[in-house]
């Protein structure tokens, strides 16, 4: 009575065949514990060998302190660091490399805007808008700055499918709205928000927009000039890059309005006992010794992705998630969250199974070699909206394949066999 996983067109598609070969670029699938059906890329992606090697190469051959050293290692360190910035600027089509601020993560990037920009611009009674689907990293910084400034945190509601009603939401923003902070892709629902349209309507009222791009950049083509957003935040580790590095993109006029979050070495021109003057942008926002190998590894990752093609990656992952959706939706007692069939979604699929706790689903999956996540995914406000305390989540990336889905379905069926009503 339980469905057999359906065969899809996937394996006959020549593009898919290329992707099967790309899997070999990721050493973890050859050398890590086996079997490994890694379906937790939305938490953090695996790394291709080229990224890992670029980090080793940096430390083995080229390592020196970034900025203003006068010897060859220091000069090449600065060059590599700035070349990485340029690669990233190019990747999201920023107008200039100076609009890319290296941070440790999307989380730091968002906190920088909250404390460095919003705190300077919020008056009591003002509003910041976030959606009900935001990750805690794009929620808590706004909650805090609103409290600090006597402003109000307002919530853009979702419909039953986990979508933002664009027409309705336009009516929400008004004279008191100072910022809209919204994710491009939900890390739970897989929803792809219509950022371009939201920005366009926000522009009519001069409301700046920050885009949380942790789940979008590196997964689909993202063009900040096309989106016309004011700020955009992301992390390298979700797009096959190293941990400990991310960036904030900002329009030049917005960055000029922003105070640094961290003060320290490298971000000042003149320091006196009484006062100091900040260095130029983006150095102003990068206090402390720059993370050279992180920047180099990040740039290598986006070059790798660009080499494959962002459209191809997006399509491949969409095919996979669609196949997963089809296979999972025919399991008895399953609830799938987010956009239904026919609606656009990214490679993230959350679900629950009647009577089985998501922790048990994930744990039994783990015993099958299937790595999925269970929990609130740092989205408690969304969980409240869905009326659950947690979900199971499978997320896909370019290195996944049909067997991963087959294994996932088998694991879910096994969880039902073990824990379902007897």
């Amino acid at each position: 009575m339980e469905p057999v996983p359906r065969k899809s067109e996937l394996s006959r598609d020549p593009v898919a065949l290329d992707f099967e070969a790309l899997r070999a670029d990721f050493p973890i699938f050859a050398t890590g514990q086996q079997p490994l059906h890694y379906l937790d890329s939305a938490a953090s992606a695996q790394k291709p060998a080229c990224v890992i090697e670029s980090i080793s190469q940096c430390y083995n051959h080229d390592y020196g302190p970034v900025h203003r050293g006068l010897y060859p290692l220091a000069e090449s360190a600065s060059e590599h660091y700035e070349a990485s910035r340029q690669t990233l600027a190019h990747f999201i089509n920023a107008a200039s490399p100076g609009q890319i601020v290296f941070t440790r993560s999307a989380t730091e990037s968002i906190n920088l805007v909250a404390q460095g920009w919003a705190a300077q611009h919020l008056q009591p009674g003002d509003e910041i808008w976030v959606s009900q689907m935001e990750h805690h990293s794009n929620f808590l910084p706004w909650q805090r700055v609103c409290k600090q400034r006597g402003a109000r945190l307002r919530i853009i509601p979702l419909d039953g499918e986990g979508l933002i009603d664009l027409e309705k939401s336009k009516g929400l923003f008004g004279k008191k709205s100072r910022l809209i902070a919204i994710t491009q892709v939900s890390n739970v629902l897989g929803t792809i928000n219509p950022i371009r349209e939201i920005v366009a309507s926000a522009k009519q009222q001069n409301i700046p927009v920050l885009v949380d791009a942790a789940q979008s950049v590196g997964h689909m083509p993202v063009d900040v000039q096309d989106l016309d957003c004011d700020f955009l935040a992301t992390s390298a580790h979700k797009m096959c890059g190293p941990g400990g590095i991310g960036f904030l993109y900002g329009k030049s006029e917005r960055l000029a309005e922003t105070e640094p979050l961290l003060l320290g070495g490298g971000m000042v021109d003149e320091v006196n006992i009484d006062s100091s003057s900040w260095a130029e942008i983006p150095a102003r926002f990068e206090a402390g010794s720059p993370n050279l190998a992180g920047a180099v590894g990040f740039a290598t990752a986006v070059e790798y992705l660009r080499g494959i093609g962002l459209r191809a990656i997006e399509q491949r992952v969409k095919d996979l998630v669609l196949l997963a959706y089809e296979n999972l939706s025919s399991i008895d007692g399953i609830h799938l969250y987010g956009p239904g069939p026919g609606l656009d979604r990214s490679g993230i699929l959350s679900f629950n199974i009647d009577g089985i706790h998501p922790h048990d689903v994930a744990h039994i999956a783990a015993e099958h070699g299937v790595a999925i996540r269970a929990g609130h995914h740092c989205c408690q406000p969304l969980m409240q909206h869905l009326g659950v305390s947690s979900t199971a989540r499978a997320s896909f990336n370019l290195y996944n394949n049909e067997q991963d889905i087959t294994a996932l379905v088998a694991a879910i069926l096994d969880a039902k066999r073990i824990l379902g009503h007897r």
């Binding site: 089985i356 015993e367 824990l419």
Partner: protein, 142 residues
């Protein structure tokens, strides 16, 4: 399914046929343990007479391990003296927080496989920590 699965028969039996699960209206004292990280919540109620736990009952929601552990807890502690229940709970918790291989009680041995999974420790301990609080509460009343 690998042989070191945590989903062993003993646990599954407690999950599917929980002992002492039900309403707590008639208990002397009820305390709640909750894990905000996963939304799990176990209420433990005790009824005691002359320093002995006549009844230990629970209700709530949680994963199979959380519920099985609650069921096993209620079974192992019903009929114990307060002091004995306290000791058992302490030993169970010590077992989970140390490298000591020996379970505090044969009937709890099935929980052993979960010690390899630190992320699920809290699932096992939730009911026991709620039990501790009921025991604290009873002592305060005296």
């Amino acid at each position: 399914m690998s042989s070191d699965s945590v989903y062993k028969e003993v646990l599954l039996d407690h999950f599917h046929n929980p002992r002492n699960k039900g309403e707590l209206d008639d208990m002397d004292l009820v305390r709640r343990g909750s894990n905000p990280r996963c939304g799990d919540e176990i209420e433990v109620g005790i009824a005691c007479d002359n320093g002995v736990l006549e009844t230990v009952r629970f209700r709530g929601r949680g994963c199979s391990i959380c519920l099985a552990s609650a069921s096993m807890m209620s079974e192992c502690t019903s009929g114990l003296k307060l002091q004995q229940a306290r000791q058992l709970s302490a030993r169970l918790q010590h077992w989970f927080n140390s490298n000591n291989e020996i379970p505090p009680n044969e009937n709890l041995a099935a929980l052993g496989t979960i010690r390899q999974h630190p992320a699920r420790k809290k699932c096992v301990l939730l009911a026991w920590q709620a039990l501790d609080e009921t025991l604290d509460g009873i002592e305060d009343r005296r």
